[in-house]
Structure formats: C-alpha cells, structure tokens
Amino acid sequence: MSGDGPYWLREHRGTLLAFAGFVVMFTIYATNHPAGLDANVATTAANKGVLLAIVAMAQTLVVLTSGIDLSVGAVMVLANCLASGIVIGSPLMSALGVIGVLLVGALCGAINALIVIFGRLQPIVVTIASGAVYYGAALALRPVPGGDVDTALADALTGQLPGGVPASLVVLLAVVAIVWLPFRRSVIGRAAYAVGSSEIAAYMSGVPIRRAKFVAYTLSGLLASMAGLFVTFITYTGEASAANASTYTLYSIAAVVLGGVSLFGGSGSAVGAIFGAFMFRTIGDLLFVFNVEPLWQPLFQGIVLAAAVCLGAARLLRVRNRLDLYG
C-alpha cells in the first residue's frame, strides 16, 4: 500500500493552494513596498486581513453544509452597533458586553438555522430576509454613527505585541483554535461536511443532519459577531453601514472561493478561507504599492477572483469525458 502523503495532499489541496497564492502575493507586496514592511504597516494590513478572515470563516461553516449565508455582513454590522454601546465601562462591564455581543451573534445564526431546518427553505432566501432584519435592528440601535468602546481592550487586540507582532493575528489564531479546530474534529463537524457532500447519504448513514446545520449556522453567527466586535475595536465607534454589510458578505464569498472551499459544500477548510481572505486583501494593497488608482481596485479584485476560479477549474481542461463536466 502506498503512503499517506498523496492522500493528504489530495484532501488539503484547496487549502494548500490558497496558502501558496497568499505567500506569493504577499512576497511581491512586501518586497515592493516603498517604506519596507515595518511593524505599523504590517499591523494595519493584519487588522484588515483578520477582519475579513473571520467573516470568511463564518461563511465557510455555512458553505460547507452546501448552504450560503448572506446575512454574515449584517450580523457583523449589528454586532458593531451593539458593541459600541455595551462594551465599555469597568473591565467586568466590558467583558459582559463582549459576551452579550457574541450571544446576540450566535442567536442571529441560530434563527437562520431554525428557519432553514424547520421552514425547509433555501438558505439563500432565508439569509437575505434575516440579513435585512438584522441590518434593520442595527439601524434602530444606531440611526447615526456614534458610541464608544473600551479603548484599552481595543488597543490591546488591534495593536502590536512586544516584537512588533500584530495582536490581531494572535486573536485570529485563538479563534481558529477555539472555534474551528474543535468543530473540524468533532462528530458534528464531520456531520456538517457529510450533509454538504450528500444529504441523502448522510441521512441514510444516521448522521445528525439537523444538529449539524444548527451548529454550523449558529457558529457562523457567532463568528460574524466576533468580526463585528473587531470592527468596533478598529474604529472605536458603531455605524449601521449598509455598504459594510453587503461588501463583507460578498467579499466573504470571494474569500471562501479563493480559499478552495467548494460552493457545492462538503469540501474545504476555514483555514483555506483565511488565506483566501488574506489574498483578497493583499490584492488591494498590491495596487496601492504599484500606484494604481484606487478606483481600479474593484476591477482588479474581480479579475483576480475570476482568474482564481478559472485556475481552480483548470483540471476540467483535462476532462476527456464530457459527462465529467457536469458531475
């Protein structure tokens, strides 16, 4: 019997490709940066990257079950507005505030889950509707931008650690270690992959389908609210920004695709999505380094996304049986 190596590569191909893509892009960026890569530049880049990475992780959980969550951006904005009101005061009050924000995020995800599971509706419709509701709630909380946040906490999480390491990267690692890894290794996580890959086969195998979906959507809401907290820590304020809600939702899907997660469900990893998010962010920074008009940024991001999708589909060029194209 041959070794495990080839099988391991096969399973993690998407994630590895996303990692490689990010490393290439980031190297180009770092070596061409006019001021060189000092700690401040790195911290700003890391904060933006981590923010999208967390939203992309949220999206990944739902996409793995072959759903899609168009409310992640709205949950993030709602969490931002809520955090700008309750994450303040004594350390204890701030901590309670953080917990409150996370609970609201998880609740938003759980509501999505219940409607998808018991309403038997398509996730795309459910989350468009619920996303509008969550955004409406955010608007009611903060009709005009404002609020404040525990500055010490915010600076600790978005600043630098001794040695110039961006603190946000450590936060991201912690999120992966606390949320993603246990999920991936748990029976429920396995069930989520199974549901996304083939729901009928999962049912016939006695997999807990409903619980898997419930946990995936709920964790997705939880992660989206973490992103909302992070927005608050970066901006020190709460704003019910419609632009943010929709941009982050769409970017999260882009990051998921770049990260090698299959939109059909069942295959991919949140780690891949993180590198997908980093890659997507680096595109913007690259354009800055090469003095391209900021106006061109969406266009280039679109081109890179399209190119990545084409690369992912390159194996189809080798297909010699047309039926495989539709498999």
């Binding site: 396995r190 999962a202 039926l323």
Partner: protein, 507 residues
C-alpha cells in the same frame, strides 16, 4: 415481521407481509421491482414506518424512528443506492455513524484502525483508508459500503442488490465474506435479481409478489422456472422473443466504425452495424463498453478513428448532433436517475425532451401535439403511471427505464445504443424490453446493446462483440453465442493461454 403493510398515497406497496429471519442463515428475498422488497427493507432499516403490523426482534416488538435507531439494535443495511459521502475519506465514511471519540473529538487513529479492520474483513484491503470516496470507481465504493456496514458490528445485515456494480473478482470475495459472516452467526438478508447468486448463497428464500410474501422455501427445493412463476404471478413462457437467424453482411452497414480509439481505454475498435440487427456488446464489466457507446454518441473528447453513417464519414460532436435526422442515433444510459431522467419533472416533459424540435414551431412547443405524442408512447410501452403530469420520480424503477427508452423512441432513432438497460429492473419489464428491441430491429433500426447479463446476450442478439481491455477480442454469430463462449472470450482465456505458450516457447 408479521403482517406488515405500507401504503404510499393510493399505492399499496406492502400488504400483510411476513418474514422470519434467523441468525446464522442467509435469507434471500426475491421479487419483481415494485413487489415490495425495497419497502420491506426500508421498514427494517428504519427509513420508513409501517402502517400496520409489527416487527419482533428476539421476540420483543420493536419500532424504529430513524435509520440510526435501527442501527442501534444491530441492523445494518447496504442499499442499492449507495449511502457513501463523496467528499469524505474512506475511513471517515466507514466510521460515520459512530466515530471513535477521545475528549469529545474524533480520534483519527482509532478511526483508521477500525477502517482498516473493516476493509480487511470485507476483503478489500487494497483500498486506502484516506482515499476520498469520490475518487474511487463504483465497484470500489460498493466494497467500502460493505466494509462500512461491517464496521457497525451488525447482528442483521441486509444487502439490497449489493453486487450489482461489482466485478467478478469482487463478487467471489463477497461470497466468501458473506459465508464467513453466516458462520459467525449473523442473520443475512440478501436481495438480488441474479438467480445463480441466490442458488449459490441462500439457505431460505422468500418470494414477494404485488406487495405480498407469497412463498418461503428452503433454497434448492424449487427450480428457477418455478421461482420466476411465483415472482411474476403468471404463466412463464419464453423470456426472449424468437428471431430468425440472419444472413450476415447482405446489406450495406448503417453504422461503420473504423479504428476508433480514446486515450488508453479504447483501442482500434472496428465494427459494422446493419439495419435490422441487434448486436450485443459482451465481456466483463468495465472493459470499455461504456466508453465505446459514449464515444459513438459524441460524449468523449479526443477520440481517434472514423465513424461512417450510410457509408459517409460523419463527426458526431455531441448528443445534439447524434440525434439529428441524418444520423438518428440514441443512447439509453446506464444511470437513469442522473443521465436519463429529470426526476422532478413530469412524465410528459421527460418523454418529449429528445423530440421537442419536431413538436414545436418557431421555438414554441405545440402542447396538443406534445400531449398526443406522449400519450401514444405511454400506451405503446405500457408505462404504468397515474397521469403524464406526475413527476418521473414517482414511477417505479422499471417504468422509469421505460421512460428513458420512450424519450428516445419519440425521435424514431435509426441507431439505438443501449448501456446495460435492464440492470435493476424486474423480469416483466425486461421481457417487454426484449420484445421491443426485436420489434425496433424488425422495423429496420440498428441496435448496439451492452449487457452484463449473459442470458440476455444469448437470447436477444444476432451477433455479440466481446470486449476485453478496450478492444473487441471476439465476434460470436448466431449459434456461437453460448454462455461458455461468452465467458471464455470475456476472460480472454484463449489469447492469454496462447501468449503463455509463446512465452514458454521463446525461453
């Protein structure tokens, strides 16, 4: 099981059926499709609940709310439609219903041990536990499915057409595995349409007909003909319609293939197909028969060689070209659920797809003409449906297969390619299909017919081309088509022996 019944809408799938299964025995369940076997199994496996009757396990009444509940008491089922998850690895799949855990998380090492043990119990230790299921061919997947069922350490193991996709070597292995399990004291329920499998394996047999359990007998006490009569509930005559022996190569060929090749799967295929002929494709499963049919139908990219229709070279670049009037070729695919039918769409939509061009004017479908044509076809093929607007998915397997054939008959094909069209369908429908093929041939269609069932090739075909390793190794004509000749040439025995002699001679 005592007096178990189940209705689906107005259809009575099972009526007061009884079945007794004992430990250490293999119990075969026989019956046509739609006879209630699948429903019975679904009830035993906890997929559906019975409307009446009861199930006793060790004398205690039991009922299952879900497949997981049936699993919990030791009933494992291998379904005809595979229950594997394509994106997960073999080991993940084998352990899926109850993965080993450590500190609440899946213990991958323990899982791998379980998988390796189960694979070797199933006689499939050549499958790597980390391979993704979607990368495995169908026959390997079926072995994984069996390993998965064994990993649950079941007391009752139900196999529903479990060998339908297996290669001959795997079938032999599975027989050995099943016999060992019987010796270990498991109760096995075995469902198959292949009579010789049942004679070889079963201790007892129960025959189902129209939702009733009509007879239970010790294996070997009834002849094949008696069993078939019980199954179809009517007098059983010749299965195959008679056909006159044809003088070969009188007319010009309708379809001629010269040196067709495709990657390393097809080499130098040359054949001629005349109007009025039924030509069989034989050989072991997976020797390029499927590829040959797909290649002719224009589905494969990069084929080499020449295809001539009416003596003129043609390039068939896809099914849309193949179905044009000048070519008139139709392919009945192997997998009716994905390649043949749109299950959620209506019977009418499914039947008229291939012929929509002739049923529409200026791109608008003529509903009246469509309805008339569809109803004619439903009558012609005796498709059992409560209405042509019902979804195709509501029909039984045999009737679905008739739909696939009907769809292509709507365009009056001159060349009909069939890829194992009778797999998993009942005796009655098979018989109707044989008759239909002969009628089409008599109406001057040319038919190329791949089948894994040797009886079918012997009974139906004027000629049989036996394939081995992507090439046609032998042509059998008329009386030459015997089981012995088919099996011999399928295994390529003559050629291998000759090569061995040559090698021996050269040293």
């Amino acid at each position: 099981m005592q007096g178990v019944s189940k209705r689906y809408g107005g259809v009575r799938a099972l009526q007061r059926a009884d079945l007794v299964i004992e430990a250490g025995r293999i119990h075969a369940v026989l019956g046509e499709n739609g006879a209630g076997k699948s429903t019975l199994i679904k009830i035993m496996a906890g997929v559906v609940a019975p409307d009446e009757g009861r199930m006793l396990l060790d004398g205690e009444p039991v009922s299952f709310a879900s497949p997981a509940a049936a699993n919990a008491v030791g009933i494992a089922c291998i379904f005809q439609e595979l229950s594997l998850i394509p994106d997960l690895s073999v080991a993940d799949n084998i352990a899926i219903s109850n993965p080993p855990r450590r500190f609440g998380l899946i213990d991958r090492r323990a899982q791998r041990r379980i998988a390796e043990e189960a694979l070797s119990r199933a006689g499939a230790d050549n499958i790597h536990p980390l391979a993704l299921v979607k990368d495995l061919p169908l026959s390997r997947r079926q072995m994984v499915e069996i390993a998965k069922a064994l990993a649950r350490k079941p007391r009752i193991l139900i196999l529903d057409e479990a060998t339908s996709a297996l290669t001959a070597a795997d079938v032999t292995k599975i027989y050995a595995v099943l016999k060992r399990l019987r010796a270990e004291g498991l109760a096995l329920v075995y469902i198959s349409h292949r009579m010789h499998e049942i004679t070889e394996l079963a201790d007892e047999c129960t025959v189902f007909c129209n939702g009733r359990s009509v007879a239970t007998y010790a294996a070997g006490t009834k002849t094949d003909n008696e069993v078939v009569e019980l199954m179809i509930g009517r007098e059983y005559n010749a299965v195959f319609p008679p056909h006159a022996a044809r003088a070969a190569s009188e007319t010009a060929p309708l379809l001629e293939v010269r040196k067709l090749g495709w990657s390393d799967r097809l080499t130098d295929i040359s054949l001629q197909l005349r109007a009025g002929e039924v030509v069989g494709l034989g050989g072991l499963d997976g020797q390029g028969q499927r590829e040959l049919l797909l290649g002719l139908f224009g589905v494969l990219l990069g084929t080499t060689g020449e295809v001539l229709i009416d003596g003129k070279p043609v390039t068939i670049s896809g099914p849309n070209v193949a179905k044009r009037k000048t070519i008139g070729m139709a392919l009945i695919p192997e997998d009716r659920k994905t390649e043949g039918l749109m299950l959620p769409m209506s019977v009418r939509d499914n039947l008229s797809f291939a012929a929509l061009a002739t049923l529409s004017r200026w791109g608008v479908v003529d509903a009246a003409a469509e309805r008339a044509a569809v109803e004619r076809m439903v009558r012609l093929l005796a498709i059992r449906t409560d209405g042509i607007d019902l979804p195709a998915g509501s029909l039984s397997g045999g009737n679905q297969q008739k739909l696939v054939i009907g769809k292509w008959l709507m365009m009056a094909p001159r060349i009909l390619l069939l890829n194992d069209p009778t797999r998993g369908i009942d005796v009655g429908t098979k018989q109707e299909m044989y008759k239909l093929l002969r009628e089409l041939a008599d109406a001057d269609a040319a038919i190329l017919f791949y089948s894994t069932d040797y009886d079918e090739l012997i009974g139906c075909c004027d000629r049989v081309l036996v394939m081995y390793d992507g090439a046609i190794k032998r042509e059998l004509i008329g009386d030459e088509i015997t089981e012995r000749a088919l099996i011999g040439s399928a295994l390529n025995i003559g050629a291998e022996a000759r090569q061995a002699t040559l090698r021996a001679g050269s040293t």
